[in-house]
Amino acid sequence: MLSLAGYHIRAMLRNNGILIWVVAFPIILATLFMVMFDGMMSNQQAGTIAVGVLADGNYQAPAAEPLRAMLGALAEEGPGEEAFLALTSYADADEANDALIAREVEVLVTVDADGAPQMSVPPNSLNSTHEAMVQAVLDRYLQSEAAVSELARNDPAALASPEAVAALTADLMGDEAQTAEVSVLRVDPSEMARFYYALLGFSTAMGANVASVLTERLKANLSPVGARCQVSSMQPARQLGAVLIASWVIVFCCLMAAFCYIRFVANVSFAGREALAPVACAACALVSCALGMALWALPWLSANVKDAVLTVGVLVLALPAGLYGEPALGLSDWLTQHMPWLQAINPSVQAANAFYALTYYDSLVPFFQTLGTILAIAAVLFAVAALCMRRQRYASL
């Protein structure tokens, strides 16, 4: 059995298709991530927001003076940092509206007769973050004014003197009430790291190619070599064992290679738990083999179709793992919250989660729980493969 496994390994290492899919593909993708994310700007950096202002009579009126002052202050560059807003004034409402629609400005601020700001946004905007930021600023402005009015109405004595009003205004714009961001994770999470974890999830599913090719060589109805193997005196279980050993070794090595590349070349942190990565890779390799075996053991479908199903299936499985960027990450999070069972049975998702749990949680319980899920998926797939491969005789070959 070990000799047979050795030959399977040798054959796979000389198979161009396998080398490309299981070895080169993940490395190429990881390199692409590395190159693309090198100059990545953080999502949390806004950049200067282009704001249009309708500088009509209402805007110029004394009632809007505090608003003008606030906007002017926000449009000033600070020491070593760029301005929050870039203001463009428009004298005419139509001109301002056209500029907004034409995306010359991201937000248009107008002032009503009472000096209160109003905001317009363009339809089909792709940058809702900037809009939300301007909205927050204007909300705070209005709420500051409302706070003064509220206090004046409920406790007029508190605002008896101009100094009290000034003190209240200053306090409203102050920053005595602060929040402190705390980190509960072992390392600071990064959106980019999720891509790499998703890539490991993708590689897990992609590794199913190895087991599928080797499984094809076991059955008489799948290949001439399969017929030769099936009529031999080595029991099918032992031959299957040889396939499992060979495919597991190859996929494990490929996953470890991808992991090492991600860790040491792309410098993605695993928070000092790299020693446990082989355990994760071992479990992922097992489920990968199970996936390939189960698919190829199915009695229906031609080899070409199984090929395509595996290829597209891998891509589809990797989608909820978050491989295809922000939309996929959004889908992944949505599924995790609304259809967790779907994520639970997806080997790519679980593989990505394993590395996630390894990195971010203090406790190793989530990590081992995820490995448990992976092994359970593998067990089910192995059972399917075993059931389908029990058949020794066929109606036709």
Binding site: M36, L100, S120, A164, A167, D171, L172, A177, A180, E326
Partner: protein
């Protein structure tokens, strides 16, 4: 035209491959769009009123005072509230899996501390928060929480009213919000879900065509079949042209199938959208489909094995869609990456799609922009096809030598 017919027959025999690549990948595009732009029926586009996206937020109240209860209610009213247990694991889980974009932890004694600080003129105790690394919605929520706390601080500093009254004033103040409207346009815009679907169509249009050609026409590259054809009265050049024509038909069918699928699924949300907008988007995608076709032709001319062709087609698709900015927005990648992306056809196709999405109306300018993007993409296709012809010729001459 016999080789052309044979090639089409071979592809037709592999109809299931076709279905898998075109339909399955198109369905993936629908899932992506659902994750971003909402469902099939409606979308965020062309809303008469502006709706701010609410972040997912959670509050852990360790104080239990009137202040902390009021602050919790404020967060609940301004977010998609999620429950998170007060424990290390639960907080780690929430942060790691992005269950909440913002978790506010109100420490014990905060309410009392805030009031004392306000009346003594000192700094208020700090609120703790966990802000998601994903997007800026967590940071914005944090800004609002600080504003609320600062308003309470200011009112507490100015007035000696009891805390319950102060809290009710702050709550009253929250009604002051800047009215936001969406600028009116003459025509309805394309829904964002359909945009995402079209962006993801770059995968089946490029990779799907190439993979179908690679597998479906694999037997035409078989050495024995080539020898048999070579001995016939079909010239090598004619053979290549006919195969190329068959591949072009494949590309057209893939594009049509993907377009029809999208139109069928999104026809509800596309009602009211000018047909010209949709036509422009489909035109840009057709240009990209030509690139996929040309790439498939190149693989065919290079005579690569079906396995290698399969792998190369899929790798190239992923790289292309990545550089097109469908995974992560290109303008977040830095200038260097954007410069590199401009050398790929996907970038220009997605640029055209984005232009149609953002345009308030279908104008001559928009048509010109989309047309120039599409022509640029088609130019890529022409170059790849030319390389394919040259490569094929060189291979044949090498074989004869």
């Amino acid at each position: 035209m016999q080789v052309f017919k044979i090639a089409l027959r071979l592809v037709r025999r592999n109809w299931m491959l076709f279905a898998i690549y075109v339909l399955a990948l198109s369905v993936m595009g629908v899932f992506m769009a659902t994750g971003v732009g909402g469902g099939l029926a409606g979308s965020a586009s062309a809303d008469a009123s502006y709706e701010q996206a609410l972040p997912k937020a959670a509050v852990i109240d360790r104080d239990g005072s009137a202040v902390s209860r009021a602050l919790t209610e404020y967060v609940r009213a301004n977010s998609t509230f999620v429950e998170v247990e007060d424990g290390t694991f639960a907080l780690q889980d929430a942060a790691a899996r992005d269950v909440a974009s913002y978790v506010l932890v109100i420490p014990a004694g905060y309410g009392q501390g805030l009031l004392e600080a306000a009346r003594s003129g000192g700094d208020a105790p700090e609120l703790e928060c966990i802000v998601s690394y994903m997007g800026a919605s967590g940071s914005l929520m944090d800004e609002r929480v600080r504003s609320w706390a600062q308003e309470l601080y200011a009112l507490a500093a100015a007035s000696t009213a009891p805390v319950e009254e102060l809290v009710s004033w702050v709550e009253g103040v929250q009604d002051a919000r800047v009215p936001v409207s969406v600028a009116a346009t003459e025509q309805e815009g394309v829904p964002s879900a359909y945009l995402i679907y079209c962006q993801f169509a770059t995968y089946p249009l490029f990779g799907g065509v190439a993979a179908i050609v690679a597998t479906g026409l694999a037997s035409l590259r078989d050495p024995d079949v080539r020898r048999r054809v070579g001995a016939s009265c079909v010239g090598e050049g004619s053979f290549a042209r006919q195969v190329g024509a068959a591949i072009a038909v494949c590309g057209l069918v893939v594009w049509a199938a993907n377009a029809a699928f999208g139109l069928a699924l999104y026809h509800g949300s596309l009602e009211g959208v000018p047909p010209a907008s949709v036509a422009l988007m489909l035109g840009a995608l057709l240009a990209l489909g030509l690139v996929g076709t040309a790439f498939g032709f190149l693989l065919s001319q290079l005579g690569v094995s079906h396995q290698v062709a399969h792998a190369v087609a899929n790798i190239a698709s992923m790289v292309l869609t990545f550089l097109a900015g469908t995974w992560v927005s290109i303008d977040q990648m830095g200038a260097g990456m954007e410069a590199l992306a401009r050398f790929t056809p996907g970038y220009w196709c997605v640029d055209a799609l984005g232009a149609v999405y953002e345009a308030p109306a279908v104008t001559g300018e928009l048509v010109a922009r989309v047309a120039s993007d599409a022509l640029l993409v088609a130019l890529f296709a022409a170059v790849i096809a030319l390389v394919a012809v040259v490569a094929g010729r060189a291979r044949r001459q090498r074989a004869l030598a």
